[in-house]
Amino acid sequence: MLVQIDQEKCCGAGHCVLAAPDVFDQRDEDGIVVLLDARPPAELHQAVQDAAAVCPAAAIQLDQAPDRA
């Protein structure tokens, strides 16, 4: 899984951090999403999918293809 974020679209809700705190964080100054782990381990995939689904700004894109790395 490859996680991509669009910081310009992010509305700073922080829902992604609540859903997957090991993968997402927020900049304190404006709440914009920070990606901690672009290739999260399999056990976090469900949480990352939840984060992408609840993002109110559609700022998280997931490439679900199996990791090539």
Binding site: K9, H15, V17, L18, Q26, D50, P56, A58
Partner: protein, 415 residues
């Protein structure tokens, strides 16, 4: 559960899209029809009063999903076709183009429609509302340096449009009926900060109530107020609230609340096989028992996920009551204001970080000694930590400071 093979989602905005997506994610494999009155595939509305209106973003940036991601949902997508009637007995949605969509379950997500003023009930050059992409593009077309724009309505939409327009060089009059505009949404302290910024940037705040749009030579030429006075303008934006787009449900047997919203139960259901989410759906708040309807972007997503989950849960057992922690944000003059819960109804404002004067703060908003809201600017972490207390309506001050530190990292369900 009897095999579910036909589901229709009426409304192709954020709530409709998220409902459809959640159904697929949960494994629903049958026919899924998404019906939208507008021509565009699902797009995001918050930027309409911000980066779309100021021209920084073009319409394609608003798409909520890429064409590929939409295709993966295997939707029967009916765009540009309003739903006209719901026949609950026959389990059929009748569309304006004469087609009928059969469905065992339907999710109602038709959103709201802006209120208009007398004199501009029908489209009138120079008289604008701001709900759709087409609305925003039409308003953007009028905003030039020197354009006299009158924004009627003291809510967040009017405030954002006023801020954007003045940034484009327009001469903006913001007509508000409340003594402290935005206070009912954000609380008095944050509202005072924002109205101060509006004034600093040249927005003229005029207190009064719009009664009608004044027409001259086939165009809007200003607004007449309830006291009979007139304010002249080159263009008028009516940001005076919205009404649920539910008139097409008349006679369907779907219960509507006093405000015209779809009156759901605690599980987002509005009768057998009927579900609702988003701006048009009201539900009894489990904490207060009072009916609530939220016109907030985050609610559209969360309520849609919830409705989809309950729809698939079947008639007994696994349905969950909808108990969100509302979140809203607004961008004005380069500041992002964020809020959880209901800061507007608080009777006390307790700073936990920074100060409004520095445009950097997080505050707990208390009602009768409990945290019922939180609001802040540029203090995302401190604000997020308050969320758990808003969710719990926790007493203030927190009994255990350690709880405050760790609440942030506790496993969380969002709804």
């Amino acid at each position: 559960m009897t095999a579910l093979r036909e589901v229709a989602v009426v409304g192709a905005g954020a709530a409709g899209l998220h409902a459809a997506e959640a159904l697929r994610r949960a494994g629903y494999d049958g026919r899924l029809t998404l019906i939208g009155a507008e021509d565009e595939p699902p797009y995001d509305r918050p930027p309409l009063s911000k980066h779309l209106l100021d021209g920084q973003w073009q319409p394609d940036r608003l798409a909520l999903r890429s064409p590929d991601a939409l295709a993966e949902l295997r939707l029967d997508l009916r765009l540009g076709v309003p739903a006209e009637r719901l026949d609950r007995q026959a389990r059929t949605v009748h569309l304006a183009d004469g087609h009928q969509v059969r469905c065992q379950a339907v999710v109602l997500a038709t959103g709201v429609r802006p209120r208009r003023l007398p004199g501009a009930e029908a489209p009138l050059p120079g008289a604008h509302v701001l709900r759709t992409l087409a609305d925003a593009l039409a308003l953007r077309e009028e905003l030039r340096p020197g354009t006299r724009l009158l924004v009627a309505g003291g809510g967040l939409l009017g405030a954002e449009a006023a801020a954007t327009a003045v940034g484009l060089g327009a001469e903006v009059v913001w007509l508000v009926s409340a003594a402290a505009p935005l206070a009912a949404v954000l609380g008095a302290e944050t509202a005072a900060l924002l109205t101060g910024l509006h004034r600093e940037h040249g927005v003229r705040i005029h207190r009064g109530t719009a009664a009608a749009v004044v027409r001259r030579r086939g165009r809007a030429a200003g607004v007449r107020l309830a006291d009979g006075s007139e304010l002249a303008a080159d263009a008028v934006l009516m940001a005076i609230g919205s009404e649920p787009a539910t008139e097409w449900l008349a006679g369907s047997g779907v219960p509507l609340d006093a405000g015209g919203g779809v009156a759901c139960d605690a599980h987002c259901a509005a009768g057998p096989g009927v579900w609702a989410a988003g701006d048009a759906a009201s539900w009894p708040d489990p904490r207060t028992g009072r009916r609530r309807r939220l016109e907030q972007r985050t609610n559209a997503t969360e309520q849609a996920l919830h409705a989809a989950r309950n729809l698939l849960a079947g008639p007994d057992g696994a349905r969950q009551a909808y108990a969100p922690v509302p979140y809203l944000w607004t961008d004005q003059y380069g500041l992002r204001i964020q809020a959880f819960g209901s800061p507007g109804t608080a009777d006390r404002f307790e700073l936990v970080d920074g100060s409004p004067a520095d445009h950097r703060f997080a505050a707990a908003c208390l009602h009768r000694g409990r945290v019922t809201g939180a609001v802040g600017i540029a203090c995302a972490r401190a604000l997020r930590q308050l969320r758990a207390q808003v969710a719990a309506h926790a007493p203030w001050p927190p009994a255990d400071p350690v709880t405050r530190q760790t609440a942030d990292h506790a496993p969380a369900r969002l709804s």
